[in-house]
């Protein structure tokens, strides 16, 4: 038994090492060597101007600038620190994968590895392009992965509340893009195992705290004034590569300006690009729908409301999809939600989900000798961008005559 366990652990380590090598080359392939002015502008926001949204990172950065013996308030420093943060993010992914492989039962490991590989195709290139390098989403993802690891291991779960609050201070969009997986898994743990009260308590307090912070940041924090705006704009210029800053961001955060009309071009672009993306993504969407159906059929009737919540959890992205324009980030957020959901449930000993995964995997293998191409297919869409969904769909838009 020990020999078999040792062999399995060796295979898992080999898999992770191979995946790391793939990650390294993948990052180098997509790495753009520059940060966008959107990402650098955020470092100019800080709590010097009041308790404003997205001010946490800038506050910490400016505090470090004061206490460290070298100048951090320049593009060079921000760029290099973000290389380090991105590397840490990738380590978080591998930490999550390692924990999953340790917790998932032996007979489900093969399926889990396919899912990890599929998930990695989306995750590795996501934050190394010019559009997303240094984006504060990386901190949100790190916090989310940390919370997931706490939930899977069942250790120090009380940390979820302060971590989610921290995430909200970093970016209030966390309430739509990433907290969904944490809240749904808290509910799952409440209604599937022991300590129901405890998990419901953590769920309720976390939901209240992030909602309150979101409401504050969205409606009460954008009144810094024109003088502050000019000061922050000057700092943002100093932080960027080319002396420019992201005007719309400061206009919204400091003056409370509505940027919906300023973003009209991207809204139109989203409407053109999304159908193209959905059409091309059908080969993956169809098995995904079959999986959800298979899992639903295997769920006990009394628990169906819970699984409905689990599958519908990504619906928190809807307000972002309707009101905002970063469709590339939302596609990634949806993939992140479902992949981490499936892996986490497999770790937690769930029954319907692993069975559905195995069923779909076997059915795909039986249907075609080339089903493995479904793992390669997402590579054609990489990297995912921000306002554009992906390089492929953007190129198609240009080809059909949609021009900037």
């Amino acid at each position: 038994m020990d020999v078999k366990k040792g062999k399995t652990e060796k295979k898992d380590r080999l898999f992770l090492v191979a995946l790391m090598a793939f990650c390294a080359v993948c990052v180098l392939y997509y790495f753009s060597h520059e940060m966008s002015q959107y990402s650098t502008t955020l470092y100019a926001l800080s709590y010097r101007y009041g308790f404003i949204s997205r001010g946490f990172i800038g506050t910490v950065w400016q505090w470090l600038d004061q206490i460290l013996p070298f100048d951090l308030m320049n593009y060079y420093s921000i760029y290099h620190m973000n290389l380090l943060f991105t590397a840490i993010l990738l380590l978080f992914f591998f930490g999550f994968y390692a924990l999953c492989l340790r917790c998932i039962p032996e007979e489900q490991k093969s399926s889990a590895k396919y899912l990890i590989l599929f998930f990695s195709v989306f995750s590795f290139p996501m934050f190394v392009t010019r559009q997303n390098l240094g984006r504060i989403d990386i901190f949100l993802i790190m916090i989310t992965l940390l919370c997931l690891m706490l939930l899977i291991s069942g250790k120090a779960e009380w940390l979820i509340l302060p971590l989610c609050v921290l995430a909200m201070l970093i970016h209030q969009g966390f309430v739509f893009t990433n907290i969904n997986i944490i809240l749904t898994l808290l509910l799952y743990k409440a209604y599937s195992g022991k300590n129901k009260k405890r998990y419901l308590w953590i769920f309720a307090v976390t939901l209240l705290a992030v909602s309150a912070l979101f409401l504050y940041f969205e409606f009460f924090s954008h009144h810094a004034g024109e003088a502050v705006y000019q000061e922050v704009a000057e700092e943002a210029r100093a932080l960027s590569q080319n002396g420019e800053y992201y005007e719309m961001l400061l206009k919204h955060e400091l003056l409370g300006g509505d940027v919906y009309e300023d973003e009209a071009f991207w809204h139109l672009q989203n409407r053109v690009e999304t159908p193209i993306f959905l059409l091309l993504f059908l080969p993956l969407l169809i098995p995904a729908c079959c999986f959800i159906r298979a899992a639903w059929q295997k769920t006990e009737k009394e628990k169906r409301w819970l699984y409905l919540l689990l599958f519908a959890g990504a619906g928190t992205l809807l307000p972002e999809i309707i009101l905002k324009v970063d469709y590339g980030r939302y596609v990634y957020a949806a993939v992140f939600y479902y992949m981490t959901l499936i892996l986490a449930l497999m770790c937690m000993g769930d029954r319907p989900i692993p069975q559905a995964v195995l069923q779909i995997k076997d059915r795909l293998k039986q249907k075609s000798h080339f089903s493995i191409l479904l793992l390669l297919y997402p590579l054609l869409f990489m990297p995912l961008y921000d306002t554009e969904i992906s390089k492929l769909t953007y190129q198609i838009m240009r080809l059909i005559g949609y021009r900037e």
């Binding site: 793939f22 080359v25 396919y114 493995i372 390669l376 492929l392």
Partner: protein
């Protein structure tokens, strides 16, 4: 595969032509029989037959689009012929190898480095010859095809002729009928001699034009380019016969920096290929089979002079990859016993490790597309970080 071609065009097409690829259209036979003058001559003739001024970047770009489309058609035809001949027993392995061939080949001529490059015409002619050799129809057309290819670009004798000669040699060795031996022996000799003679002529006797022809060609090259530039090395070498090694110092440096890193990162595929072809070679027992296997394995050695003297390492790496994939497919289609057994056993091995196979294919994607002076983008990125260039 058609779906992949469409997506690859959207993903990899950079919508521009390098000055190297536009400059060659300025070379034409108006001043004499010089190397790489075919396309320029075609353009001149076409221009003289119409009232519209065709001597522009726009025309050259559209010709290149058409050539690339024809290249895709020939790739698909080659795959079709291979799969038809491979039969049911080899169906799935052959399909997988065809897919890998397409993964590598389709993006090759979509980047700015290689879009419209003369290589695309050489590839069309090579694929044409491969189709004839696989289907065993009208094989006599191979001789004029390889001659035409050598006239388009004398580098054909190093880059692409190898696979055609190896296949002719293979057929000469394995066929037992005397008529077939004479046929393939003659085809081999003619396909070797005629392009070689053309190469010697173009390399040593065709660069005898003066400064006035150079200036005229330079002016035309500027007209044909996207931004008014021209590729000085090409014209200095082709028109004035100058040794351009001094102008390629930086390119040689790139090669020295790129190649070791590429070999390290590509080593899993190199290791797998070495294992595969060693297994194939060991299954050949008779003298004829062993000589054929030796030719199959040694074919890409014709690229050595290019590696030593020239600088387009991306093209050469592509040439090697294409060679080994295409020759494997040909041997499968011919139901070569050693190759069929080797492919079957390695396919079983890969099928038993599908996760590793999927990861390997994903990893392969990170090297695409192959470029020209630089091998590929990921290597360029690493070299830029290490050598700060």
């Amino acid at each position: 595969m058609v779906f992949y071609i469409l997506l690859a065009v959207c993903l990899y097409f950079e919508r521009g032509m390098d000055i190297m690829n536009t400059t060659v259209f300025a070379l034409h036979y108006g001043h004499g029989f010089l190397s790489r003058g075919v396309l320029g001559t075609f353009l001149q003739i076409w221009n003289s037959l119409t009232d519209v001024d065709l001597l522009s970047y726009h025309t050259v770009y559209q010709i290149s689009e058409a050539a690339t489309a024809v290249y895709f058609v020939f790739l698909l035809l080659f795959v079709y012929v291979i799969l038809k001949k491979a039969g049911e027993s080899n169906e799935f392995p052959a399909k997988w190898i065809c897919l890998i061939l397409m993964f590598i080949s389709v993006p090759m001529f979509l980047s700015k480095d290689n879009f419209g490059r003369l290589d695309v015409y050489l590839m069309i002619l090579s694929l044409f010859c491969l189709i004839l050799l696989t289907a065993e129809k009208a094989e006599w057309l191979i001789v004029p095809a390889v001659v035409f290819a050598a006239v388009i670009h004398e580098g054909f004798v190093f880059m692409n002729l190898n696979i055609i000669l190896v296949i002719l040699f293979y057929k000469f060795m394995v066929k037992t009928d005397r008529k077939d031996k004479i046929k393939y022996g003659s085809l081999f000799l003619l396909s070797f001699l005629l392009p070689s003679l053309l190469f010697l002529y173009f390399e040593f006797f065709s660069h005898t034009f003066g400064a006035e022809v150079y200036r005229e060609t330079e002016a035309l090259a500027r007209t044909l380019s996207m931004d008014g530039g021209f590729h000085e090395q090409v014209l200095r070498h082709e028109i004035l016969g100058e040794d351009i090694r001094g102008l390629e110092v930086e390119h040689h440096r790139w090669n020295r920096e790129d190649l070791p890193i590429f070999l390290v990162l590509f080593s899993p595929f190199i290791w797998y290929a070495v294992r595969f072809f060693r297994s194939y070679a060991s299954k050949n027992k008779t003298a004829e089979e062993k000589w054929s296997a030796f030719a199959v394995l040694a074919g890409p050695l014709t690229l050595l002079p290019e590696f030593i003297l020239k600088v387009d390492y991306g093209r050469y790496i592509f040439g090697i990859c294409f060679y080994y994939l295409a020759i494997t497919l040909f041997l499968l289609a011919k139901k070569d016993k050693a190759m069929t057994e080797t492919v079957a056993s390695y396919y079983q091995e890969a099928w038993g490790h599908q996760l590793a196979a999927a990861l390997a294919l994903m990893y392969l994607f990170l090297f695409l597309p192959f470029r020209s002076y630089r091998i590929c983008d990921v290597i360029t990125s690493i070299v830029a970080m290490i050598f700060k260039n």
